[in-house]
């Protein structure tokens, strides 16, 4: 019994209790031991026992309470459903502040335990190589292919990193060992748009030395990516140029302007990207993540660069340009309309775009209503009228009037909107049809739905950038899905790029948006015909080789300067197979910054950063000018140089300074174009330890064009120094003072010749042992 009863009749009686004398004791009486009152006899487990439980909150890093957050006291007017009396905040010691659940999460949620040690272990020891390319989900966990990838510059440096384990495809991934590595996802996204690729790479046919140009850098990068056939590519030069653009720094897009501390854990997306900044007014509280900002920045910048270099906008604006007209209607009856061209568009949910309770619920809508509504959104905002200066509620209507062949969208949904999206089957449309009807854009899944409209365009999904949210490490990262037309088999294939990890994925997997860890940041739809066009190499254009035959000094031609080289003439124009010897010197911009744990594991926080300082190339073909240098360029450096490494580089402080130098200086862009042209022409490069040189120059030269003496005279796994080899094989003392790249290139050249001789006579092993 013991159940509540409504009958007044008591059916049972309480027990008479005699617990002995009863003293009143205050709860604060610390001198009264709690054991003063005994425990009755028990024959079953006590209620106070907590068997077989594990508590795991120990060591949990507490959620940081950000006291700098804009605190909004809850105003009197806000509704208080539980209380009829209005709040008197002035008398309240602990006032209410507005709590944003979207931003800070549900109340009283226990913080997750994250083991930093395990994460570090993963980052230094790498991942299971058998499993790493597995992109399919078997449970709730994030599949291995989407993992945070290990640092490539780990214990032994990236020369020894096994990139091949992460990429079995013919498409190159991008190394994380660069600044702003989060931009890798955007680079991959546009690399598979034929029109864009062809335009960028096509630009390389002309010289472009005037200004830092992301257009040229992307051209070189895409050219390198297509020539590398799966070898890893570093976007180092692109990042160097990006770093030199002031607007990029102002917009907070650069590593150096962001919080330094993120990098050791998260090498792809800065933490700040996952924390949305929230405007004070509720309702319109979405802002762009860093990759979305970068997408806008990059496209705008490229449009501007095209204009500046050609004098008119044709290609890129035609590709990307949305014509957006904005109408502002205010109560004061003032009317304002303007039209701009925007290369990308933000898309939000139909509700946010002012679509009044659409006929269909969002729970069975695809992405199309999201895009469509974002192309003609209506918002009411409290604004100051530009005409009369009155502040009032105004209706702002934004309309897109055209359908460009490439549509680049930043997708901005709240966490709860993503939750709805995940429940919708085939939310992500692979293709759709669109038309302009009465100045409005209409999008439909099939052609038949658009019969009555005007010209109908078919769009197909070209690719998108997804954000992977990993609560086990409290990090987010970006991956790119790209759809590539296989010209041979006339089919599309999907690839997923997670930095240097590249894997071909099923279409179902690529289109699956139901995973809890996956959201879309940037999405790209492309005109169906454009998507099937071939990719053209720069070799198909007529290239300007002029720079190989002239000087292009940044500090003007100095009087009495004695050149140590003789420029090439058109008579000796290099062609495929032309032998040249090369040596490059570098200076140290900043030394490696690393953390070491108690086991001696080293984690490089900021890798060593070097900058090209001098390059010498000499003629390798027998003839009157044999071994005469034709390039000996010192490279301008505007960055802080930590160490000139004079002993190795021969570079003296001031040598690279445009103001002070006594050398003839050229820009990195000029010298890079020379090397790139020589490679493009098919020259054979002779040198010692060329892998490292090319890595720092940031060019992937095909292996067939490399003759590396360091590799020919490899002793087991040990590389022999040029100086030792010169002494042992050539009986020559070199590098007695500082290194000199002309001497080194020359030594490598004669070493190569010696190697060919020895190989012919078959006495190679003996020679080295002596």
């Amino acid at each position: 019994g013991g159940n509540f009863t409504n009958t007044p009749e008591i059916l049972q009686y309480p027990d008479f209790v005699d617990d002995g004398p009863h003293n009143f004791v205050l709860v604060d009486d610390m001198n009264y031991p709690l054991s003063s009152v005994g425990l009755p006899y028990y024959s079953e487990r006590l209620l106070s026992a907590w068997p077989y439980t594990l508590f795991n909150s120990d060591g949990t890093i507490p959620k940081k309470l950000d006291l700098n957050l804009p605190l909004t006291p809850t105003s009197k007017t806000s509704k208080q459903p539980l209380n009829a009396t209005p709040l008197d905040l002035s008398s309240k010691k602990f006032p209410f502040y507005r709590y944003d659940k979207n931003k800070y999460g549900k109340r009283n949620v226990a913080a997750n335990y994250i083991c930093m040690k395990d994460i570090r272990k993963k980052m230094t020891n790498g991942l299971d190589k058998e499993e790493i390319l597995n992109y399919k989900t078997t449970g709730p966990e994030i599949p291995p292919a989407y993992s945070q990838l290990p640092f490539t510059y780990g214990k032994y440096g990236s020369d020894n990193f096994d990139f091949q384990a992460y990429n079995k495809t013919q498409f190159s991934g991008l190394d994380t060992d660069v600044d702003n590595s989060y931009t890798n996802s955007i680079i991959q996204l546009y690399r598979f748009v034929p029109e864009v690729f062809n335009f960028f790479v096509g630009c390389l046919k002309d010289e472009n030395f005037d200004k830092p140009s992301l257009l040229s850098e992307l051209g070189y990068l895409y050219d390198m990516m297509s020539r590398s056939h799966g070898r890893v590519v570093r976007s180092a030069n692109f990042q160097a140029t990006l770093n030199s653009i002031p607007q990029a720094a102002i917009s907070g897009l650069l590593d150096k302007t962001m919080n330094e501390s993120y990098r050791s854990i998260n090498n792809s997306v800065p933490n700040s990207a996952s924390v949305k900044t929230v405007s004070a007014t509720l309702g319109d509280c979405l802002s762009k993540n860093i990759i979305q900002k970068f997408n806008e920045f990059l496209l705008n910048r490229l449009l501007k660069e095209e204009f500046e270099s050609t004098g008119h906008n044709i290609t890129l604006e035609q590709c990307f340009g949305f014509t957006v007209s904005t109408e502002v209607k205010s109560k004061c009856n003032h009317y304002n309309k303007e039209t701009n061209v925007k290369p990308s568009l933000c898309i939000q949910s139909p509700t946010r775009n002012g679509v009044k309770q659409s006929t269909k619920k969002l729970s069975n809508q695809t992405i199309l209503p999201y895009i469509e509504s974002s192309m003609r959104s209506v918002k009411v905002q409290n604004k100051i009228c530009e005409t009369c200066g009155k502040q009032d509620m105004m209706e702002i209507e934004k309309t897109v009037n055209n359908l460009p062949p490439l549509m680049s969208f930043q997708v901005m949904l709240t966490e709860s909107e993503w939750k709805t999206v995940r429940t919708v089957k085939k939310w992500l449309s692979k293709e759709f049809y669109a038309s302009v009807y009465k100045n409005k854009i209409i999008m439909k899944p099939t052609y038949n739905d658009l019969k009555m409209a005007g010209e109908v365009f078919k769009y197909e999904l070209n690719g998108y950038i997804a954000k992977v949210t990993d609560p086990s490490t409290n990090t987010t990262r970006l991956v790119t899905y790209s759809r590539v037309w296989d010209q041979e088999l006339q089919v599309f294939r999907w690839y997923m790029f997670n930095n240097y990890l590249v894997v071909e994925v099923d279409e179902d997997e690529a289109l699956n948006m139901s995973y809890w860890w996956k959201t879309i940041e940037v999405i790209l739809y492309c005109d169906s015909e454009e998507l099937r066009k071939p990719f053209f190499s720069v070799d198909t254009y007529s290239i300007n080789y002029d720079i190989l035959y002239r000087d292009h000094f940044s500090n003007g031609i100095m009087e009495g300067y004695k050149k140590e080289y003789k420029l090439l003439t058109k008579d000796e124009a290099p062609k495929a197979g032309t032998l040249i010897a090369i040596d490059a010197e570098f200076v140290l911009l900043n030394d490696e910054l690393c953390e070491i744990d108690g086991q001696g594991n080293k984690t490089v926080v900021r890798p060593k950063k070097s900058s090209l300082a001098r390059i010498s190339v000499i003629r390798g073909e027998e003839g009157p000018l044999y071994a005469v240098p034709f390039i000996d360029d010192y490279v301008v450096n505007r960055n802080h140089i930590e160490d000139y490494l004079t002993k190795y580089s021969g570079i003296l402080p001031g040598d690279l300074d445009l103001e002070k130098s006594e050398k003839q200086l050229v820009t990195r862009e000029v010298v890079y174009r020379k090397i790139w042209l020589l490679m493009q022409l098919g020259c054979i490069f002779v040198g010692h330890g060329l892998n490292n040189d090319f890595k720092l120059i940031n060019i992937n030269v095909p292996r067939a064009q490399i003759r590396d003496t360091a590799i020919y005279f490899l002793q087991g796994k040990r590389y022999l120094s040029l100086r030792y080899l010169a002494f042992a094989l050539l009986d020559k003392n070199i590098q007695e003072d500082n290194h000199d790249s002309i001497e080194d290139a020359y030594t490598a050249l004669i070493l190569y010749k010696k190697y060919l001789d020895i190989k012919e006579s078959g006495t190679l092993p003996k020679v080295i042992e002596t």
Binding site: Y42, A49, L82, F94
Partner: protein, 474 residues
């Protein structure tokens, strides 16, 4: 006779707090804690409970025992020395042991009654002097003597000796040979026994007191935890046997005999050391040891042969040879201790470690006491009927932070909304509250629309003042 608590109600320790299974423990990550780790260890608690219980054991009145003997009452016979070997008999006198309360200081003591003295066996001067001598002997390895008297309350003339009471103490012999589970003697035990016995002997000899037959595995008790021993029963022998004063030469001779006795006791113990099981070969060399052989009659040569055959460390054998060498009549503690300096230091370390462990446990338990009181306070003020209609407890009220804090501490959920019940979280929050730290926390209202930012210190003050106002309500 029945005693309280009744024997049927054996403590059900396994029901009190089941130990986490070993399997679970093995797979645990360092950050994971089982409930038993957060509180006093079961072992230590059980041990202490048993002692409490033994202390509290009571005897119904009206039995054959006197209610009050001199200053002592509440006699409970201890079965501790039920086994009556000849050593336990004092010059043919029966003897018995009781737990008693002292009327002087209220503490518990042990009363040893030596029955049926012939009148005038012990003259009062001798009794007083012997008591004075032995009372001075204060050493952790000796059960202290508190009082001596001769009484007739037992209806005879009985000599009573009052010693400190160590609940649940059993003899060294019982510990290693009788008790279940048997505690095997190891080299480590031998070293710590040696140290403690040397310590006891040193103290006694300093006062020119002789241990003699007390160096006996049935007179040595194990207190607290295995390895900690005390010599028991001091002064009885002197009271019964010795009458006159001893000359310094006699005393020195007896002291030297104490060394030999110590040696023989250790040999007896050492001969029961199991050889290391991972060394089956050495097993063959073992002669079965006979614990019963009378070592006192053995010659030094026999000792040495026996010592050689023991399964103990060589350095320990060296100690044994020193102790049993009856050619050397100048044995002293310094020379002896030099033979095991290392052991002294490691024992010193072990003791300090245990000291720190106890300190920590005590700290946890004191914290638990504070936290329990704090929790009581919160529960006293929280959810009272009158507060259900009190505006101060409403969302706009002064007391609302308490409600939110209570939710924050106890009603955590995970991302999916499932309740999370993690005692480590509760402990951390309550400790901070109790300490009143300045750390701030964000407390969110149930509708998740608003929040309050408040420090633990402010919460503590709020709870404290609310509690105070309740106690002062009239």
């Amino acid at each position: 006779p029945t005693i309280y608590p009744p024997p049927h109600s054996i403590l059900q320790y396994h029901l009190y707090f089941p130990e986490t299974p070993q399997q679970l423990k093995l797979s645990m990550k360092p950050n994971e804690k089982t409930p038993d780790e957060l509180f006093i260890s079961n072992n230590l608690r059980e041990q202490l409970v048993k002692k409490n219980l033994a202390s509290l054991q009571n005897f119904p009145p009206g039995g054959p025992l006197p209610d009050l003997i001199q200053d002592y009452f509440g006699l409970v016979p201890l079965d501790f020395h039920e086994k009556k070997t000849d050593i336990d008999r004092y010059q043919g006198h029966k003897n018995s042991l009781f737990k008693v309360f002292s009327n002087i200081d209220g503490k518990l003591y042990v009363l040893r009654r030596i029955h049926d003295l012939k009148s005038n066996t012990i003259d009062s001067q001798h009794l007083a002097k012997t008591f004075q001598n032995w009372k001075k002997l204060q050493n952790v390895n000796i059960v202290a003597l508190k009082d001596v008297f001769i009484t007739t309350k037992f209806n005879d003339s009985s000599l009573c000796l009052i010693y400190d009471y160590y609940p649940k103490a059993i003899s060294l012999y019982e510990t290693h040979f009788i008790n279940f589970p048997l505690l095997p003697i190891t080299q480590d035990y031998l070293w710590i026994y040696l140290i403690q016995l040397t310590n006891a002997m040193k103290s006694a000899h300093c006062l020119d007191l002789i241990l003699g037959d007390l160096i006996n595995w049935e007179k040595i008790i194990v207190t607290n935890r295995p390895g900690l021993i005390k010599l028991s029963g001091i002064a009885a022998h002197d009271l019964l046997f010795t009458s006159g004063n001893k000359t310094p030469i006699e005393i020195n001779k007896l002291k030297q005999q104490d060394y030999v006795k110590l040696g023989h006791l250790l040999i007896k113990l050492a001969s029961n050391v199991k050889p290391p099981t991972n060394n089956p070969l050495s097993n063959n060399n073992t002669t079965p040891s006979s614990a019963s052989s009378d070592y006192k009659t053995n010659k030094i040569h026999k000792d040495n042969v026996e010592i050689d055959q023991l399964q103990v460390e060589d350095s320990f054998k060296e100690v044994l040879r020193y102790l049993t060498n009856d050619q050397d009549d100048n044995k002293n503690v310094k020379d002896l201790s030099v033979l095991f300096i290392d052991q002294l230091y490691s024992n010193f370390n072990a003791l300090k470690h245990y000291d720190e462990y106890l300190n920590k446990t005590l700290q946890t338990e004191l914290e638990n006491s504070r936290l329990f009181r704090l929790l009581c306070k919160m529960n006293f003020i929280f959810g009272r009927i009158e507060s259900r209609i009190d505006i101060n407890w409403s969302e706009s009220g002064e007391k609302f932070p308490i409600i939110l804090f209570y939710d924050f501490v106890f009603h955590q959920i995970d991302e999916t909304g499932k309740p999370v019940m993690d005692l480590t979280h509760v402990l951390r929050c309550l400790n901070k509250l109790d300490a009143g730290v300045s750390e701030k926390l964000v407390l969110v209202t149930p509708d998740e629309m608003n929040c309050i930012i408040i420090s633990y210190k402010e919460l503590k003050d709020l709870i404290e003042s609310t509690f105070r106002s309740l106690t002062q309500t009239n």
